[in-house]
Amino acid sequence: MTSARDDILAAVRSALADVSPAVSVPAAPRAPDRGDLVALFVERVEDYRAVVTRCTSAELGGVVAEVLGARTSVVPPGLELEVPNAVVDDAFTADQLDAIDAVVTRARVGIAETGTIVLDHQPDQGRRAISLVPDLHVCIVDVSQVVADVPDAIALLDPSRPLTWISGPSATSDIELNRVEGVHGPRTLHVVLVL
């Protein structure tokens, strides 16, 4: 008996026996120049009802502390920022993470056109679970990380790493196709943009 793999590949080949594999793929068009990328990024992130705070790198620690207030928080091992009362992730279980209010991470890329933040889960962002289970995600983005559109992000990102593209807080359109925020992911996304 032949394997499913061989059967499927043979069926694919036979289906395409008379079909030329050559097909011209037109290049995807680029979005027009939208001027101030950082302003566009802020506008588009806020459009998803995420909160954006701008600050200098000297102000960053104070701003993050203020956003967190009295909340408990978890931080990745490579955050390189003093966060008061935060615990550094140490292979916590999902249940342990569920008992923590907030998470503070950095990001890899910000996409202005779509208001998206991409995490590639390096040590300054931590493994995927920590930025998922707590209900408040404070995400620090440096203005130098903001790119114009999706193709710029794709070119920068390393596909061998796990990636999480985040556009606003978790949301659903499943009830009468109206968007409401707050389902399983963090219900609040607070972006701190470092100038």
Binding site: A31, G115, H121, I175
Partner: protein, 492 residues
């Protein structure tokens, strides 16, 4: 557990029942109008939308035309990245693979990310038969599953339910399968979403095995992509120890860069957003992060059949955005259940016959479930010419009946027409008969068309199906050839 489409009547019968449900029609009209407006806004924002569609269609078409190569590349890169690749010829094989992986880990439940492929293969029912509970975690899938209902839309399977109905389902059923809904649950969408969060949280936190599909599979990097909104996808892709992804072989794109047009086209076409809240990508196993055992099941289940169809092949470009459903005047009125498949609407009307053939009456009725208005083609982000494929599938249905022992009335009429048209004397005789019929209809008919031409009312017998909803204009009393003879081509 959810119901099943098995045994659904053919489209015209099912559509008649759906059209009588005024609540359903109100829910659908409201929801499709909302999503059409949202899509139009974000599509208008992209100046070169048509060029983006061409790029998206090109990426998928190129991948399909060299599919065997890309599948082998995908298998190799997935394996290199630590994933285990399985191949499934059909639904039963795919379900058996998922069940055996689940059993191997001693699990009696799996958490599921919304996935069309697993809905197509009836995975939940198959797992249930193996003593494994499959928990749907997408809000709309949860509504369908708790309501013991059937999906009626690709993106929002519970589109046929309004907020009041959803509240009732949550209150009645959540307690039976986990954390009950609060007693004072209101029908505010945000409150209902909050109830789903509470209900599913414990399932996410304890799940050992998760099952997903994938929106895209990147051959050269072995990367799978899941596009979602709620975070249920991230929960399932991140927290469990074992992840099994069931991926149709047509989900392949060649390179990482190919994701660019797709990730710009899909959210705008699907939920009418610039970008969906969450997109997760992963390539095999990441040590210390997420599931440490990753399986990918590459699924055929009719796809190679569709691939062999020169006209229909383009349907495999589909990225399941559901824009064609939302603009379809037929879908908007009858809803998804009438199509008798997890793939409803215009794309379902071509995909089901292409995947399964047209030998059963229900599937054979689908290519006719369209007015061929073309709105679906216009919105399709990967430019699937659905109307052309519909017409081609109608031909396939007719072809499949060529050797029937009892020919259909239509086949007989076509035969008679061919006989009459192939001989000028026969045609002249037929024209005279038609002229007499024209005079009779003009004399006795009480129906006139705009402009004053008489038309037949509803005719009896085999013609009733046609004339019940259409006007048959009275044939002219004199045929063109008779007029030519009488006037010598207009000279007299």
């Amino acid at each position: 557990m959810s119901g099943t489409f098995v045994g659904m009547p053919a489209f015209p019968t099912a559509a008649r029942a759906a059209l009588g449900d005024t609540q359903l029609r109100r829910n659908l009209a409201h929801a499709t109008q909302t999503i059409r407006d949202k899509r139009a806004l974000v599509v208008a924002e992209v100046e070169d939308w048509e060029d983006l569609r061409l790029a998206g269609a090109g990426v998928k078409e190129a991948a399909l035309r060299d599919l065997a190569t890309h599948l082998e590349t995908l298998e190799a890169s997935l394996t290199r990245a630590g994933a285990t690749v399985h191949w499934a010829r059909d639904a039963a094989e795919a379900c058996a693979i998922v069940a055996s992986i689940t059993h191997a880990h001693g699990a009696d439940e799996v958490a599921k990310v919304k996935s069309m492929a697993t809905a197509e293969i009836g995975l939940n029912e198959a797992l249930e038969a193996e003593g494994i509970a499959a928990w749907e975690t997408d809000l709309a899938e949860l509504i369908v599953q708790l309501g013991d209902d059937l999906p009626s839309h690709i993106l929002v399977p519970a589109i046929h339910r309004n907020r009041a109905e959803i509240r009732e389902i949550f209150q009645r059923r959540m307690g039976d399968v986990g954390k009950a809904a609060p007693a004072d649950l209101s029908d505010e969408p945000a409150v209902l979403a909050g109830a789903a969060r509470e209900h599913l949280r414990e399932k996410f936190l304890r799940a050992k095995v998760a099952v997903s599909g994938a929106n895209f599979a990147v051959a050269d990097t072995g990367t799978l992509v899941v596009v979602e909104s709620e975070g249920n996808g991230r929960m399932c892709l991140t927290l469990p120890e074992v992840l099994v992804s069931v991926v149709g072989i047509e989900k392949v794109v060649a390179t990482w860069a190919d994701l660019d047009p797709m990730l710009r086209l899909l959210p705008r076409s699907s939920t009418g957003e610039r970008m969906n809240p969450y997109t997760s990508t992963w390539s095999g196993v990441s040590p210390g992060d997420g599931p440490q055992e990753v399986h990918v099941v590459l699924l055929d289940n009719g796809r190679t059949r569709a691939l062999a169809d020169d006209v229909g092949r383009q349907a495999l470009r589909c990225i399941r955005c559901s824009a064609c459903l939302n603009v379809c005047p037929v879908y908007e009125r009858v809803g998804g259940h009438a199509y008798g498949s997890v793939y409803p609407g215009p794309i379902g009307a071509i995909l089901n016959p292409l995947l399964n053939g047209v030998s059963d009456e229900q599937t054979a009725s689908l290519p006719y479930a369209s007015s061929l208005c073309g709105a679906c083609f216009e919105v399709c982000p990967v430019r699937i010419d659905i109307p052309s494929v519909l017409v081609d599938q109608r031909a396939a249905v007719v072809d499949s009946h060529r050797n029937d022992r009892v020919p259909s009335a239509e086949a007989l009429a076509m035969k008679a027409t061919a006989w009459a048209f192939s001989d000028s004397r026969r045609l002249a005789w037929a024209e005279r008969a038609s002229g007499i019929a024209g005079r009779v209809i003009t004399r006795f008919s009480r129906t006139t068309l705009p402009g004053g031409r008489a038309a037949s009312g509803r005719l009896p017998g085999p013609a009733a199906g046609w004339t019940g909803a259409r006007d048959l204009p009275a044939p002219p009393a004199e045929s063109f050839r008779e007029w030519w003879d009488r006037t010598d081509g207009g000279q007299r």
